[in-house]
């Protein structure tokens, strides 16, 4: 049963600390998405990759956030330094791109609390 996995599932950290979230997309999927979900803003797209290349990271605060895909089995989202307003649930999703369609498969999320 292929699934997107994310680690850690929960993270509590102090303001100013670095946070790294990891995602393992479904084997064979060539597109990876990072989302942030909060009560106030809903689900926001932060960045997405196709064949490991970043296509769009316009939704991400560039000064503190960075997203990478070191290889096809690992995507990372890093926040440095973290701030209380970064508290949210971060989801990774993967998909198989086509010219018109594309459902996304979501991981269970990382719940981040910055104090």
């Amino acid at each position: 049963d292929a699934r997107v996995t994310q680690t850690p599932r929960h993270k509590v950290t102090e303001m100013g600390q670095e946070v790294t979230m990891r995602c393992q997309p479904i084997l064979g999927h060539n597109t990876v998405f990072w989302y942030r979900q909060t009560m106030m803003q809903g689900l926001e797209l932060l960045a997405y990759f196709r064949n490991r290349a970043p296509l769009d990271d316009s939704g991400m605060p560039k000064d503190r956030f960075s997203a990478e895909m070191p290889d096809a089995t690992l995507a990372t989202l890093k926040i440095q330094p973290s701030e209380p307003r970064d508290s949210a649930v971060y989801f990774c999703a993967s998909g198989l791109v086509s010219t018109r369609d594309g459902e996304q498969y979501f991981g269970p999320g990382t719940r981040l609390t910055v104090t």
Partner: protein, 110 residues
């Protein structure tokens, strides 16, 4: 920024009743998708309807799409307590990028 706006924001019904959720969007789309999110979980894809389709069925789900009105509806028939979740519409553009709406919280009471 959100492309889709769901209506209503919250819906409470009894088991066995039908639940209808609506979604409106602003720009042209390639497809529209519906996802479900159970509390504390990730989103799960339910159904996709392409821009040249008007209606689609999957089990107890029925989705309609009216591109002239830029709107879609999701109907869940004979609801069950297990259908309690938040439901999101998402509009698809290029490179499979999706923009999600704010969601409808559905509560189905036994």
């Amino acid at each position: 920024s959100q492309q889709g706006e769901e209506d209503p924001q919250a819906l409470s019904i009894q088991e066995g009743e039908n639940a209808t959720m609506n979604c409106s969007y602003k720009t042209s789309i390639n497809n529209l998708q519906w996802y479900r999110q159970n509390s504390g979980r990730g989103l799960v894809h339910l159904i996709l309807i392409r821009s040249n389709e008007r209606e689609k069925h999957s089990g107890r789900l029925r989705v309609t799409l009216d591109t002239s009105k830029k709107s879609s509806s999701l109907l869940i028939t004979a609801s069950r307590a297990a259908d309690t979740a938040s439901y999101f519409c998402a509009t698809g553009g290029g490179y499979n990028k999706l923009i999600f709406g704010a969601g409808t919280r559905l509560a189905v009471h036994p």
